[in-house]
Structures are given as C-alpha cells and as structure tokens.
Symmetry: C2
Subunit: 220 residues, 2 copies
C-alpha cells in the first residue's frame, strides 16, 4: 500500500494539549480505539505491530497506523506490506511526536474505515512521555535486553503508560534479566500498570495483547 | 567510594556552547582525555565503562566519571565499586546532559589526578547528540539487539560521533543482525566513523577500545 508522508516543520508546535483534546474527541466521534506505542530504539515496536495487525486482520478488525520517525520510512514500509493504511511522519530531528503531528496524520486516514489506530512513536524512552497526543492508551514496549532496572531510571514513561509489553522473552535464556525485579520496579513506578511478556520474534503471547485490544473495543 | 550527587535545576540551562568551550579549555589545561558515551537505554554503556576502567586501572591510567541519569544512582553505584571518583548528575527529567552539568560535575572532581574523564550520558539515541559538552570524543554505544538500521534512523547521533562501540556481539548467534549492513549504514551517515565490535558481557575486544584510548593519550 502506498505510504503517505508528512514532513513536520518547526511552526507546527504549540498548544499541544488543546490539540491533543481535539484528537481525542475526533477519535471518540469515530469510535476508534487508539494506542500509542513508545519505547527505546530497537525495543521491537514495529515487530509487535506487524504481528498484532496481522492477527487483528484475521478477525476483520480494521487498523490504521501513524509511524513517527526522525528520518526515513523503514518502519512504514514494513507496515505497508500488511495492506493497512499507514502515514509516515518524519519529525526532522524532533525526538518525539506531538499532538499536531497526530492531527495531520489522521487527516490522511479514512477514519470511518478504522477500528484501531496505532501510533508508533519515535524510539526514545524519555521525551515521547512528555507530550499528550490525544491517544487513549500509552503502551511502553520494553525489551529484556535493556535490563530490568529501566522503570526506575525512566520513571515518567512508566508512569504515563497503562500497559507494558515486555518484549524479546525468546532471549530469556541468553540474557541475564531478572523478570521479577522488572515487575517490582515497574509497579513501584506505576502500581496500576499491566504487563504482558511477549516475543515479537516468535509471536509468543502476542495473543494476550490482541485480547487486551478486543476487550477495550468492547467496553469503549 | 562515596558518590557525589548534583541535582540540576531548570535555571542552569543556556549559553550551552560557550560553557562547552570553557569545559574543553579546562580539560586541555589539565591534559585530560575526555569521552562522552551516548546510546539507547540498555545499550550497555555502563558495562563497557566498568570493563574499560578496570583495564585502564591495571595500566595505572587514572579515570574519573560523570554519570548522567534522569533519576537514580544505579550506574554511579556500579562505577563507584571500582574505586574511581564518580559524580552523579540527575537531570530531573531532562533527556540529555548539557555543558553546564559537565562544568558542575568537573568542579566535584580533583582534575589534576585524572588522565581520562568518561561522561555517561542519559540513555537516549536522539537528544544528547544535540548538545555540545566540551568533551573531546563522542562515542556511540550501539547494541546489536537494536537492529542494523539504526544509523539511518538516528543519523545525528552517528554524525556527531567519532567512534561506535557495537556492543553485545556475544549475542550474534541468538539474534538476526546484519553486521555488514550496520557498517554500511553507519558509514553512509558518517564516512569517517570508526567502529569497534565489543561485548560488555564477555569482555571481547574491549582491549581495542582501551588501545584507542591509549593512542589518543599519546597524541594529545
């Protein structure tokens, strides 16, 4: 599917929270469930998206994707192979997505054909957490290769997220990672956070994320 | 060794490049070689530092460390076990170190006792690249678990670095990583960049990084 692309200039910034509210209202109007995937570079956001979208398509749940990257179209090219509408946002250096970029992204999508909107934020465990986008669920994708202490070192990301996908569990045997401590640290930062261990490589437990999405679709 | 700690308030920012120049002059005055380690959360900056400092100590090359983190003292606690002077800078939310933080950090160190100053920046593949610190060498620590395309997705980091430590090569068998492509992409972004593959777990090829440091000590 053809990739739509937006280059964001400096002048689009400002009034972020107001625009985030408008985005949220627009998504509610179209009854779209929205999820904002955040995490370090290489934590596996795109791989998880690919697997999840494939499974949602099998269930006839239509998806749309807004891909945020500083430069390039690597991720949107991968997603577009799944034949879902995808908008690439190149921030031109900025380390995070802002509400205006999501607004511009949604303008490129046919909203009444979408049930689930995924936003893949710029790979960064810090800055994306600071900007409201008007997206309903913040999802942190954490890879076990990053170490178990990250929730304590990057507390804001974990505070603003409702869900953590703890990725690359296929590598648990090859890597020193204390799963119990990770859970403890994540919950110390955010007692209400839900954690789903997954593998974006083998597909392990991706169904649990798909189940989460289906549950949210029912109650929204 | 006791960890010195600085909390950075908002009012320290500004005039960054001027202060970076002053930092650089101070380091030259004391004939200190300085290296700024940057990279994603969990790329292995601290593990590499630990191994490198241990080897430099064996050669009677004295080190000092400035640890940058948003919150916590995890890394400085690890480094302090090596009995080297370490200053922890907590940025209080900021996603990068700035020149003033380095200046304040150096004030806490006995500079005439240090030959090599390491700065470990906040784990972030984006923002730290934007701020001059007055540190001579920028070193990107990249983990193979992040994927080979990262130099193209985060070009600024690779443009401002003279050296890449390609970490976690002990996992090459467990992970799909195209080393050749990584070299190609890194050099496309920065044709002069030097790349040393290492393992912060097994210690493989850390000697090459130590050799690099010793060479720079000779020519400076």
């Amino acid at each position: 599917m053809k990739i739509k692309k937006i280059e964001i200039g400096e002048n689009l910034f400002g009034k972020n929270d107001e625009i985030a509210r408008e985005n949220s209202e627009l998504l509610q109007k179209y009854n779209i469930l929205s999820l904002n995937l955040m995490g370090s570079p290489g934590s596996g956001k795109t791989s998880i998206l690919e697997l999840t979208i494939r499974k949602l398509k099998e269930k006839n749940i239509t998806c749309g994707v807004i891909e945020g990257d500083i430069a390039g179209t690597f991720d949107s090219e991968r997603i577009s192979l799944l034949e879902v509408p995808v908008v690439q946002i190149n921030t031109g250096g900025a380390c995070h997505l802002e509400a205006m970029m999501i607004k511009k992204g949604m303008e490129q999508l046919t909203l009444n054909e979408i049930k689930v909107l995924f936003v893949e934020n710029v790979g960064n465990l810090v800055c994306p957490a600071e900007f409201k986008l008007g997206i309903k669920y913040n999802v942190t994708v954490a890879s076990i290769t990053e170490g178990e202490e990250k929730p304590l070192k990057y507390p804001l990301m974990y505070s603003v997220s409702q869900l953590v996908l703890l990725n690359k569990i296929d590598l648990l045997k090859a890597i020193d990672f204390d799963t119990e401590k990770f859970y403890q640290y994540a919950r110390k930062t955010n007692p209400d956070i839900k954690i789903i261990p997954v593998s974006g490589k083998t597909g392990d437990s991706i169904n649990q994320f798909v189940d989460f999405i289906e549950e949210q679709l029912l109650i929204q």
